[in-house]
C-alpha cells in the first residue's frame, strides 16, 4: 500500500479535484472549434480550477477535462498530498518517491481494462470520430493530443518510452508532429527504425491518470511506466494493444494505435506553443498512421492549452526538470540548498541555491547541468547563495540585480543544443535546433576581504534574534493584521 490516496484514472482525479474546490463542471454545450480552447486558455492565465466539459458540440457521449495539472495545488492533490502543501514540500516528496526502487507495471487482461470498452479497427478507426479540439485560432490543425503521451519501444533493448509529443490530425488516418532528434523517441526512431526503414509501432494515450502524465513529462532516465509506479507507490496496470505488443495504461480514456512511418514527412504546425508564442515554423514533420482506436464508455478527453504561463506542461516540465538537476548536482556532492525552475519562465530559467564553498562553484554547476541530457530545454541558470530563498521570485530578482556583475558575473555558452521553439532564435538557428546558454553568477567572490563583502539588509539579517521575536510577538498589537 502506498499510504497516500492515489487516483487510478482521471474519473477519480476529477472527483478529487471537486472535493477540494479545484473543478468547475461546465454543463452547457461547448464547441470543440476554439471555444473549448479559449476557456482552457483563460483558466490557465487566471490560475482557475480545471473545467470539466459535459457536452461537446458534434460529439454526443464524449466529455472533456481541461488544464488538469496547471497549478501546484492540483499537483499536490494528484500526489495524494495536502492540497495546501508548499512547493518545497511537494518537491521533497517527489524526490523521495522517485529516488526509491523502480516499480514495474502489471499487465491485466483486456476484459479488466476499461480502455478496451470500445475498439475501432480498420476504416472505423477514424480520428474525426474523436473530439480533437481546434485549440488556438491559426493552428495548423486540430491537436487531438495535447495532454497525453506516446508509447514507443526500443527495437534492440526493449526499453519503453512514454513521452509527450504533440500530434496534429491531418486526415482520418494520419497525425503529424515534431519529434526532435535529441528526444528519447527521436533517438529511437531516427537512430534505429529509420536506418532500417522499419515503421515504429506507437500508442498515444489520451487522458491517463494524473501521475502517468507527470511521469511522461519528467526527463528521468527511468522508463516512465516504472517511474509512474514509483510516484504511485504501487504498479500501474497496463494492457496489451490491439495491433502491436506495446502496453498502455488500462484505465486511460482513449488509446490511438498505429505506426510511425519512416522516410515520410508531412507539414505540421503552426501551433501555440509552451513558450507562449507560435514560434516553430510549419515544416515537414514525423508522420503517424493510425490502425486502431480504443476508448472507454463516455470517454473524457484531456485538453491542455499551451500559451503564456501557466499551463501544466510549463508547470510540470519546470518542476521535474529542476528536480532532475537537483538529483544530478547532489549526486556530484555539490553543496546545493535547492533547485527551482520557474514555471513562468516556460522552463527556460532555473535557480540553483548553493553554499559558496569554493571559487568557481557557480560555473561548475552550470557546466554540469548544461552538459547533461536535460540541457536542450532551457538556457538560463541563476546561481544564488544560501542566503537567498530560491522559491521567492522577489528575492531572486533582488539577488540577480545586485550580486551578479554585468560582465564578470555573466558567462555565455555558444553552439549549444536548443530547440526550434525558442522565440529568440533566428530562423536558421531554429531550423538546426541551435541554441545558446547563459549563467548568471549571483554569489560574491570568495577572495574579497571579509570587511568588503556587502551585508544584506533585511528584517531577518540585521536585527538581533530577541528584537525579531519581540516585534513578531507584538505585531498584531501594533495594529497590523499579518
Amino acid at each position: 500500500m502506498a499510504g497516500y490516496p492515489i487516483y487510478k484514472d482521471n474519473r477519480e482525479f476529477i472527483k478529487g479535484l471537486e472535493k477540494y474546490g479545484e473543478l468547475v463542471t461546465v454543463k452547457q454545450e461547448v464547441d470543440w472549434d476554439l471555444e473549448m480552447g479559449a476557456i482552457v486558455r483563460r483558466v490557465c492565465e487566471k490560475k482557475l480550477p480545471s473545467p470539466y466539459f459535459k457536452k461537446i458540440k458534434d460529439y454526443p457521449g464524449f466529455e472533456a477535462f481541461g488544464a488538469p495539472l496547471a497549478t501546484y495545488k492540483r499537483l499536490a492533490i494528484a500526489l495524494g498530498m495536502d492540497p495546501d502543501s508548499t512547493v518545497p514540500q511537494i518537491a521533497d516528496e517527489y524526490v523521495r518517491r522517485t529516488s526509491s526502487e523502480p516499480i514495474h507495471p502489471v499487465v491485466v487482461d483486456k476484459k479488466k481494462a476499461p480502455c478496451k470498452q470500445h475498439v475501432l479497427l480498420g476504416k472505423d478507426a477514424d480520428l474525426f470520430k474523436l473530439p480533437g479540439p481546434m485549440v488556438h485560432d491559426g493552428d495548423g490543425g486540430r491537436y487531438l493530443c495535447t495532454w497525453h503521451f506516446v508509447v514507443s519501444q526500443d527495437p534492440d533493448n526493449g526499453m519503453i518510452n512514454w513521452g509527450m509529443y504533440r500530434q496534429m490530425v491531418f486526415d482520418e488516418k494520419t497525425m503529424v508532429g515534431p519529434v526532435l532528434p535529441f528526444s528519447d523517441m527521436g533517438k529511437m526512431f531516427y537512430g534505429k527504425y529509420v536506418p532500417r526503414n522499419k515503421p515504429m509501432p506507437f500508442a498515444s494515450v489520451i487522458s491517463c491518470d494524473p501521475l502517468a502524465g507527470v511521469a511522461a513529462c519528467a526527463p528521468s532516465p527511468i522508463p516512465e511506466d516504472q517511474f509512474t509506479g514509483m510516484l504511485m507507490g504501487k504498479p500501474i496496470e497496463v494492457v496489451k494493444c490491439e495491433t502491436c505488443d506495446l502496453e498502455v495504461p488500462a484505465h486511460a480514456e482513449i488509446i490511438i494505435e498505429g505506426d510511425v512511418i519512416p522516410n515520410l514527412t508531412i507539414e505540421e504546425a503552426p501551433f501555440g506553443e509552451y513558450t507562449g508564442y507560435r514560434t516553430s515554423p510549419r515544416e515537414p514533420r514525423t508522420v503517424y498512421r493510425v490502425k486502431a482506436i480504443t476508448y472507454r464508455d463516455n470517454p473524457i478527453m484531456a485538453v491542455s492549452n499551451m500559451g503564456v504561463p501557466t499551463d501544466e506542461g510549463q508547470l510540470l516540465r519546470s518542476f521535474s526538470l529542476g528536480l532532475e538537476m537537483r538529483k544530478l548536482l547532489e549526486s556530484q556532492g555539490i553543496p546545493i540548498t535547492g533547485v527551482f525552475m520557474l514555471p513562468e519562465s516556460t522552463h527556460h530559467l532555473v535557480v540553483v541555491g548553493v553554499k559558496p564553498a569554493y571559487t568557481g562553484i557557480a560555473t561548475q554547476i552550470a557546466n554540469l547541468i548544461y552538459g547533461s541530457k536535460l540541457s536542450p530545454w532551457f538556457h538560463m541558470v541563476i546561481v544564488v547563495d544560501d542566503q537567498t530563498d530560491i522559491y521567492d521570485k522577489d528575492e531572486v530578482i533582488h539577488a540577480l540585480s545586485t550580486k551578479c556583475h554585468p560582465i564578470t558575473g555573466i558567462h555565455k555558452y555558444e553552439n549549444a543544443p536548443g530547440t526550434p521553439l525558442n522565440p529568440f532564435a533566428s530562423p536558421e538557428d531554429r531550423r538546426w535546433s541551435k541554441g545558446a546558454k547563459v549563467l548568471f553568477d549571483c554569489t560574491f567572490p570568495l577572495n574579497w576581504p571579509k570587511s568588503d563583502v556587502p551585508i544584506k539588509v533585511a528584517f531577518n539579517t540585521v536585527y538581533p534574534k530577541e528584537i525579531q521575536e519581540k516585534v513578531l510577538t507584538n505585531w498584531k498589537k501594533y495594529g497590523f493584521k499579518d
Binding site: D58, F128, K129, M134, H136, G138, G141, D171, P270, R282
Partner: protein, 85 residues
C-alpha cells in the same frame, strides 16, 4: 449551391505563389457536410487565383505562423492525391 471554403498555409511571400497553374498543395476543408471533419487536410492538384471569383471555391490564405490574410482567393481542385497508397 454555396461555395465550398478551404484554406492553405503559404510559407513564402504570397505574391510568389503561381496563379492559374496546376500545382500540388495541402488544403484544409472548412465547410464539410459533416462538421466533425472540419479542418481535414488533404493533398490536391489545384489551380488558384488571387481573384476571388475566378474559380469555383473560396480559398483563405494563412502565413507560416497562422496569420490569416484579409482577402480570400479562389481555387479549383483538379484531384485529391493520396500519399499513402
Amino acid at each position: 449551391m454555396a461555395k465550398k471554403e478551404y484554406d492553405t498555409f503559404v510559407l513564402t511571400d504570397p505574391a510568389l505563389v503561381p496563379q492559374d497553374k496546376e500545382m500540388e498543395m495541402i488544403l484544409r476543408d472548412l465547410t464539410p457536410s459533416d462538421r466533425r471533419y472540419k479542418y481535414r487536410s488533404f493533398f490536391a492538384s489545384a489551380m488558384v487565383s488571387r481573384n476571388e471569383k475566378k474559380y469555383p471555391d473560396k480559398l483563405w490564405i494563412r502565413l507560416g505562423r497562422g496569420q490569416l490574410q484579409e482577402k480570400p482567393w479562389s481555387v479549383k481542385i483538379l484531384k485529391e492525391a493520396n500519399k499513402f497508397q
